[in-house]
């Protein structure tokens, strides 16, 4: 039967339906003629038609179809959510994975609900099931506040198969990553939780059980902040399964890979407590940096496995910068590829974390403004948070401008290194990324190179200045270089302190002078860029208010106009004023100094940032084209 023939049949059928029954046979002969099979076909179809009901929904076919689809749906439901399993009444699905399902259930005659983890019956071999049961018995012996308590284990019949199960205390809590995201705890609190997890893991190690699958999903944080490790040892039972048999809920497998130690991924034999130590460090890394050390999101399975077993965590320097060398080195050690180089036990790892906590890891971030999901607690100098609020877009522009050729007019460019530093700053410098101008400071490597570029003399000067010694005796040019160097190396506090010194000196020498105006403006830019807008605005306002000795408004005062506009940009009620100050100021600078002057360029950057913030992208692009340099 093909398409065309079917159409013919359909046509004839339609006619036949309209034919009164007694005339049908004759009509058939006439229409179908010699084609016996066609006649037979039509006779059958017309007979079937005779059995149809008047009401389409009443039709036997429709009824039968309804029945069978309902049945199919029922079977699907039963597999998804059985009503009973063994002695447990099933209430809800708490979670599901490739290996099994976790239900909320209540055993007959019991008064509390439990978490019932059931392996899909038939998954893996009988040996895997046996191992599951063995692990269950071991787990039943573990008693620790940080480890979920096992109450029962066994086998139930599910969907016609024998499914191993584990009944556990039902832990009220959030997954570790959800907890961090929702509650935004300070770093010290995150460390404390990880320390508690490490202690729990250590307890299990003492009983000969290695978790092997520590990941955010397996650590629940209770409302009181205490963590609980779940799914203990289950991964071990599943290790017998060939990875390829696991379905491509590949997101789930990748979730595990990210925390898996290299030796686990490679399937080597030396998997032991040190593997759990690695995972603990990976968790800590994620809590502090927002992602595990080797992020495998978006990778294919083989690529992810490769990354884990061969990759080098890229964010360790950033972690050191943000949280200090001590914490950084603890994490680093625990993440070593060679298990023997890591902390030998989870307990040792926990002790290290405790030591860090005792040593007073600062809980409050240095810049309240810079609190993000992963608040930075700086040890030496502010490390600019990666998440400055949108309002500091203009501060960011100022920052670029300042870091790049920010020499006050009249200072000589000295040959050699200082110029290289200044030249280098823009190339590897602060970048304003995206409409919200998230500022990304130099990464550690670049910073290191910048410091290395300074001469020994400069470095010792920097060191001296950080102790805020006498700045007298240094030329303005040297001060400017040093100040830039400090900014470039991320030591904002020292740079600001230095500039303050300079300002104080200028005021002491001659209040209200042009020097004071210039110095105020310089300091203003620095403060603005580091987020201290209120103070910056005060300085800019003062600079503008000071009367120049003679002649037109000085460039420094024009700059102060732009700077003040930037400060006001985040204040919604003064937005119009802000816009006017920036645009007018830039125009005036251009008229006075020309478009290519460094000061005009700085103002132009602010204009571009302003226009982008206002959504005037075309104008912004036009202005951006006039910028020299990055």
């Amino acid at each position: 039967m093909d398409h065309e023939r079917f159409q013919r049949v359909a046509e004839l059928f339609e006619q036949g339906c309209r034919m009164p029954p007694e005339r049908r046979e004759a009509w058939l002969r006439q229409s179908a003629g010699d084609d016996e099979s066609l006649c037979a076909e039509l006779r059958q179809l017309l007979a079937a038609d005779a059995r149809r009901a008047a009401e389409p929904d009443d039709d036997p076919l429709a009824r039968a179809a309804r029945r069978v689809t309902a049945e199919a749906l029922d079977a699907l439901a039963e597999e998804t959510l059985p009503r009973r399993l063994g002695r447990f009444a099933i209430e809800a699905v708490l979670g599901a994975g490739t290996s099994g399902v976790v239900f909320r259930a209540r055993g007959d005659g019991e008064s509390v609900d439990v978490a019932l983890k059931v392996l899909h019956g038939g998954a893996g071999s009988a040996r895997a099931h046996q191992r599951f049961r063995n692990e269950a018995h071991i787990l039943a012996r573990l008693r620790h506040a940080g480890i979920v308590r096992v109450t029962d284990s066994g086998v139930v019949a599910w969907a016609g198969r024998q499914a191993p199960y584990l009944a556990m205390e039902l832990v009220e809590g959030e997954r570790l990553d959800a907890w961090a995201r929702d509650h935004r705890p300070p770093p010290a609190a995150r460390l404390a939780v990880l320390r508690d997890v490490a202690r729990a893991v250590d307890h299990a190690h003492g009983h000969g059980v290695v978790h092997r699958d520590l990941k955010p999903a397996n650590v629940l944080v209770r409302p009181d902040g205490s963590p609980c490790v779940v799914d203990f040892g289950i991964a071990h039972a599943l290790a017998a399964l060939d990875l390829t048999t696991l379905e491509t809920a590949s997101g789930q497998l990748l979730g595990t890979l990210a925390y898996m130690s290299p030796e686990q991924v490679s399937g080597e034999r030396n998997v032991g407590p040190a593997s759990d130590v690695y995972a603990l460090a990976a968790l800590l890394h994620e809590l502090l940096m927002g992602a595990p050390p080797l992020d495998v999101r978006g990778l294919t399975l083989p690529a992810a496995a490769r990354r884990v077993s061969e990759g080098v965590p890229p964010q360790l320097q950033a972690l050191r910068d943000a949280h200090g060398l001590a914490l950084g080195s603890v994490v680093e050690r625990a993440l070593r590829r060679d298990p023997s180089e890591r902390h030998a036990t989870a307990g040792a790892f926990a002790d290290e974390l405790q030591r860090l906590l005792d040593g007073g890891l600062s809980v409050e971030p240095v810049h309240p403004r810079s609190v993000g999901a992963h608040a930075v607690a700086a040890r030496r100098g502010p490390a600019l948070s990666r998440h400055l609020p949108a309002a500091t877009a203009l501060a960011a522009a100022a920052l670029i401008a300042w870091a790049w050729s920010a020499r006050p007019p009249g200072t000589a460019h000295t040959a050699g290194v200082p110029e290289r530093v200044a030249d280098r700053a823009p190339a590897s410098g602060f970048r304003v990324a995206g409409a919200h101008s998230v500022l990304t400071p130099h990464d550690g490597g670049q910073r290191q190179r910048l410091v290395q570029a300074a001469t020994p003399g400069q470095l010792s000067r920097i060191a001296e200045l950080r102790r805020l010694d006498e700045v007298g005796g240094l030329s303005a040019a040297t001060i400017a270089e040093l100040s830039e160097n400090l900014v470039a190396t991320g030591d904002w506090d020292a740079a600001i302190a230095l500039e303050r010194r300079m300002l104080a000196n200028a005021v002491a020498r001659e209040a209200g002078s042009a020097v004071e105006v210039k110095q105020s403006t310089r300091l203003g830019w620095l403060l603005l860029a580091s987020g201290r807008e209120a103070e910056a605005e005060a300085l800019f306002a003062r600079a503008r208010a000071l009367q120049p000795p003679a002649g037109p408004v000085s460039p420094a005062q024009l700059e102060a106009r732009v700077g003040q506009g930037c400060c006001l940009s985040h204040d919604a009620s003064r937005r119009a004023e802000s816009e006017r100050l920036i645009l007018d100021g830039e125009r005036a600078l251009e008229a006075a100094l020309g478009a290519d002057d460094a000061r005009t360029q700085r103002a132009l950057r602010c204009v571009v940032a302003l226009l982008e913030q206002l959504g005037r992208q075309d104008e912004a692009d036009r202005q951006r084209a006039r910028l020299v340099g990055p």
């Binding site: 398409h3 039968a64 069978v68």
Partner: protein, 164 residues
């Protein structure tokens, strides 16, 4: 509205649905599909709704057939006690139709006449009335009526005694 998304939505919805809000009540796929629509779109335009249903019917069919296949054996008869008979179902349990047979027959029909198969699919798996089917397929109700009549006759004959 790509079918994979709808498939996933229906899947998740099916799982959420089966929390036994109403134990003992057999869920009709059509109810599920309509619920899925309500959840997936607020204040739908008619055109969107019909398009959704058209896609959902196929998705639902796929879900159920895939599941039946995974279960291995064809579901024959089934446990009468597990199914709550609703008004639309005849009280006399007939030798039941097999879902996989129905699916196979429909697939065959689709090769011979795609639109007729579509009519059946929309009726059985999305629970549309003939008028609604006509709207979805942008064809007159009369034509759909004719399609249905032929399709049911052909299917009945194909599926034999399983259909009363």
């Amino acid at each position: 509205m790509p079918i994979d998304d709808v498939y996933e939505d229906l899947r998740r919805l099916a799982e959420a649905y089966f929390r036994r809000q109403d134990p003992g009540h057999t869920l009709q796929p059509t109810a599920l599909v309509h619920e899925a629509w309500l959840r997936l779109a607020q204040g739908p335009a008619i055109a969107d709704r019909e398009h959704f249903l058209a896609v959902a019917a196929t998705a639902m069919r796929q879900i159920l057939v895939d599941h039946a296949r995974r279960r291995g054996a064809a579901k024959r008869g089934g446990d009468a006690s597990r199914i709550t008979l609703d008004d639309a179902v005849s009280p006399a349990p007939a030798p039941a139709l097999d879902l996989l047979d129905l699916d196979a027959a429909l697939t065959m029909l689709a090769r011979l006449d795609p639109r007729k198969a579509r009519v059946v699919e929309l009726r059985f798996f999305a629970g549309l009335t003939l008028a609604e089917v006509a709207a979805v397929l942008h064809v007159s109700a009369v034509t759909i009526g004719t399609d249905w009549r032929m399709a049911r006759a052909w299917l009945s004959r194909e599926l034999g005694s399983a259909v009363a």
